[in-house]
């Protein structure tokens, strides 16, 4: 298999894993979004809380999570849901690439150094037997 295909398949596996495992973690433990606070919370409001709230629409009641940043005096700012999700997935992607990409590149460099695989002696070519149709 050509190295570029190996690289692309590795990246595809990473993307599929990124779409499933972090989502699972998010469903089980939404509090993981608090990790996005240093990026999203305003200065002076460093304490993050993930607030679960319900709201009613014409389709029924839905439950959402939103990131709220708290300051030392109780002042608060709601960041919302989408920005923490975006930062979370970008963080997971960057973190995963930081591990996977060097490994993939190392593999490519090693294979290049090794050079092309040694090829053995040429296989004997089978020649179909010649049938003589000379008269008996």
């Amino acid at each position: 298999m050509r190295p570029i295909w190996r690289f692309l398949i590795g990246q595809a596996v990473l993307v599929v894993a990124l779409l499933s495992l972090p989502w699972l973690l998010l469903v089980v433990y939404p509090g993981v979004l608090e990790l996005t606070a240093p990026v999203l919370c305003p200065a002076g409001q460093p304490d993050a809380r993930i607030v679960e709230y319900s709201h009613t629409t014409h389709d029924g009641t839905s439950t959402n999570d939103t990131l709220v940043c708290l300051g030392p005096d109780g002042d608060l700012t709601e960041v919302g849901s989408w920005a923490p999700l975006g930062v979370y997935f970008v963080g997971v992607f960057v973190g995963s690439e930081a591990v996977v990409l060097p490994i993939q590149l190392l593999g490519i460099v090693r294979r290049r150094r090794r050079g092309p695989r040694p090829t053995g002696p040429p296989r004997p070519v089978r020649v179909p037997p010649v049938i003589s149709l000379r008269g008996r």
Partner: protein, 178 residues
């Protein structure tokens, strides 16, 4: 064997579902935490609201009838932009859970006998007023609301702070916060 695998899968799914929501808090818990920390009405919040209204109306310093602040929400009443005797009411918030984010308005309100006063960013020391009021209110109190208004025509604006311990509230007028 197959049925065992299916049962294990169902048990795992139920276990995951029961774990869902770990690490979250309710809005009531966040409100309680904000109250334990003092109430959340700060100079920064009021300044941000004044700045937003001043920018939207193009008036700086901003002529104001009154400013009313609660947790994450500030309502500023200003003279009508079209010069009519009515008033424009602007709302500024930092959370959709507490009345909305950003600047909304203006809602139109009727005339007021109280005069206006000019406010610019940095004019009001709400932090100091809140600390003074909490000291006066006693331990365990937090700032429920802050109002800045002129009590009557010609009078100086007064900064009134309502502090509460959850059971009883008291209004404390703080001088020298402007």
């Amino acid at each position: 064997m197959r049925s065992r695998g299916a049962i294990a899968l169902v048990v795992a799914a139920l276990a995951l579902a029961s774990c869902a929501g770990i690490g979250t808090v309710s809005q009531e818990e966040v409100t309680s935490e904000a109250q334990r920390r003092g109430g959340g009405i700060t100079t920064h919040l009021v300044d941000a609201a004044v700045e937003a209204v001043a920018e939207e109306t193009g008036r700086d310093p901003l002529p104001v009838h009154s400013i009313f602040a609660t947790l994450a929400q500030v309502t500023i009443t200003v003279p009508s932009a079209d010069g009519s005797p009515g008033r424009d009411v602007w709302s500024y918030g930092t959370s959709g859970l507490y009345g909305g984010r950003g600047l909304t308005g203006p809602a139109v309100a009727g005339e007021s006998a109280a005069g206006t006063f000019a406010v610019a960013t940095g004019d009001l020391d709400v932090d100091a007023a809140g600390a003074t009021a909490r000291d006066a209110g006693g331990p365990g109190t937090w700032v429920e609301s802050v109002t800045i208004a002129r009590p009557g025509e010609g009078a100086e604006p007064v900064l009134s702070v309502v502090v509460t311990d959850g059971a009883t509230s008291q209004t404390i007028a703080v001088e020298g916060s402007r």
